[in-house]
Symmetry: C2
Subunit: 356 residues, 2 copies
């Protein structure tokens, strides 16, 4: 009947190995700075007692945690999952642990989570997008917590980022849609307030229209919250516009898949009656039917490079530099040229091709 073994401490290990606590600590952190003999002795005691360092104490004494926090909008959809996985894997290679928190797209919650992760001792932070209350950046500054922004590349913001150009990416796919002959366009976007990525994509959409000689004010645009269901509802709304769009560009794959579901429910066939495109190239895009044309985002590389940047900054003091990644349009079955326009007169309002 041993009493109870209250989670062993450094002290217990030291005692068991008949050395000082300093030696045990050294042995664990710098095995090479300790003699072969004592090392085995200590390691034995560690194993026997099932010793595990207390994280809080460690953090307090060492003033670092080897932990990096990642704050993402949501875990609900797999959007950020692939990038995070890569981020974590790369971090682990460098001896860091990832802590993740989600904000549900709410700025207040994000602020709270950031403070919480900093309080927890995060050595650095991964953030999604640049746009947030300057107060937060000030906080990070005074706490001297380094961070890197992903999912957007924007040197103007003054914050180091590993991302891509949302505007031109969206512009590219919109361009292709237009080049196929679509001129009555619909757009479904997640909320653009406080979200630089969605806002930039909308700008890209309008730019593509303008460039093609279409009037961007004729864009049937619906802004909604993030989700499959929301995408479905938005699609219904858009389909009530007259003349009906022949192509609906969505700000992300999740909305697009919702739109496709709605189309099916409404008896509207894709792409015969209406083309639909997404953005992100989640796995979802390939299992959708028809497969979704979308913008491929290099999730994995983004996560990996963000981790690399942070790790080498923390370990070797290398400066955090922004890196721009490339996206590419992926054409799949959900997008084709518009079928024989039955209402050519309305079709050409704005006479795009005459001007372009």
């Amino acid at each position: 009947m041993t009493p109870k073994p209250p989670t062993p401490t450094l002290h217990d290990v030291a005692e068991a190995a008949s050395v000082s606590t300093a030696t045990v600590s050294r042995c664990l952190n710098f095995p090479e700075k300790v003699s072969e003999r004592t090392r085995t002795k200590v390691l034995e005691a560690v194993k026997k007692l099932g010793y595990m360092p207390n994280f809080g104490a460690q953090a307090m004494a060492a003033r670092r945690t080897n932990t990096i926090g990642a704050i993402i909008p949501t875990m609900e959809n797999a959007i950020f999952a692939r990038g995070l996985q890569a981020f974590q894997d790369e971090l682990r290679l460098h001896g860091f642990t990832m802590l993740v928190a989600s904000t549900n797209y709410c700025p207040e919650v994000e602020q709270e989570q950031i403070r919480s992760l900093v309080a927890r001792g995060a050595d650095a932070l991964l953030l999604i997008g640049h746009e947030r209350d300057p107060e937060i950046y000030d906080f990070l500054e005074t706490q001297s917590v380094p961070y890197i922004v992903t999912w957007n590349y924007d040197t103007a913001s003054g914050h180091p980022s590993v991302g891509f150009d949302n505007q031109s990416a969206m512009q590219s796919i919109a361009q292709q849609v237009i080049e196929l002959g679509h001129s009555r366009l619909g757009f479904i976007t997640a909320s653009t307030v406080g979200n630089d990525r969605t806002a930039a994509r909308l700008v890209g959409m309008r730019a593509a229209m303008t460039e093609a000689g279409l009037n961007p004010d004729k864009l049937a645009c619906v802004e909604t919250t993030y989700g499959i269901e929301q995408g479905a509802v938005a699609f219904q709304q858009i389909m009530q516009a007259t003349p009906r769009p022949t192509a609906v560009i969505c700000g992300n794959d999740v909305l697009a898949v919702g739109a496709m579901r709605a189309a099916r429910e409404l008896g509207i066939s894709v792409p015969e009656d209406v083309s639909i495109t997404g953005f992100d190239d989640m796995e979802l895009a390939k299992v959708a039917y028809p497969p979704l044309s979308t913008v491929h985002v290099p999730h994995g590389e983004m996560g990996r490079r963000a981790a690399l940047a942070l790790a080498s900054h923390l370990k070797n003091g290398e400066p955090l530099e922004s890196v721009k990644l490339e996206t590419r349009v992926v054409l799949r079955g959900s997008l084709t040229a518009p079928q024989t326009a039955d209402q050519t007169s309305q079709d050409l309002s704005g006479t795009p091709f005459a001007i372009g």
Copy 2:
């Protein structure tokens, strides 16, 4: 030119408010035990300095963190996301914070993550499924870290759980498939080693066959790893069996959706040529085409009740009791009766209906 304000401590606040650190601490933790006057004074200083307690120090001194760890197999797919969200929301209501870690379905990683979360001071843990090295349970025991198991209900295991009966759930849907007239069946399952949920589902599948007078050994079963791609590959394999199954039951929605993709690629139509079913009822199931028949799992309630159990255990010492949740079969377009059997002779190998 103020120097730099190195993240303020309790001491700094105390100084600024001209009180003792003890008072500040009290003021923050038990506002009612401090005089109105000093309270405002202190709170003012806190705000002015932007003070935020150091988590590690707090944890060490208070010997509790108000943090609950959740260890899930993967964040890649949204399977656990909905439940986790509910878990977190409910926890927050009770003043707890959630920390999540993923194992990638690897027992070693899980053990590592469990130890890591415990070292980080998690007051309790959420685990998925019962089956794991007893050593882990021993560890949790001696560290006296309470935990609750979800995604399975199994009183025999001796571990408190909030979940459902995977075996009977799978048995239900398989039963319905068989009742529709399918007798040549395929089964795609994620790895069943170290995974009590998948193992139980397989048992349920076989039980349904036996009960219907079918020979479970004739089940065309493919075991693979978790993922859409893997589901697709498995489906291809299964379709090579002769006679070809008329229905493929999948252990989860992700595999099922992969199977549907593969079917499309092979020119096999669902459900005309082959019916497909899933398990979990993720949002994915509804956007799939045709919509996926599956087993609905009460993700939200499961998360919520797990949180509730843990919170009231930690706060009021209430015992952790198991609760059994109900699932239900959801019929959608991916499942119909088999079309005119063209190879009746082979069809009846095992003469199911003669016996049943």
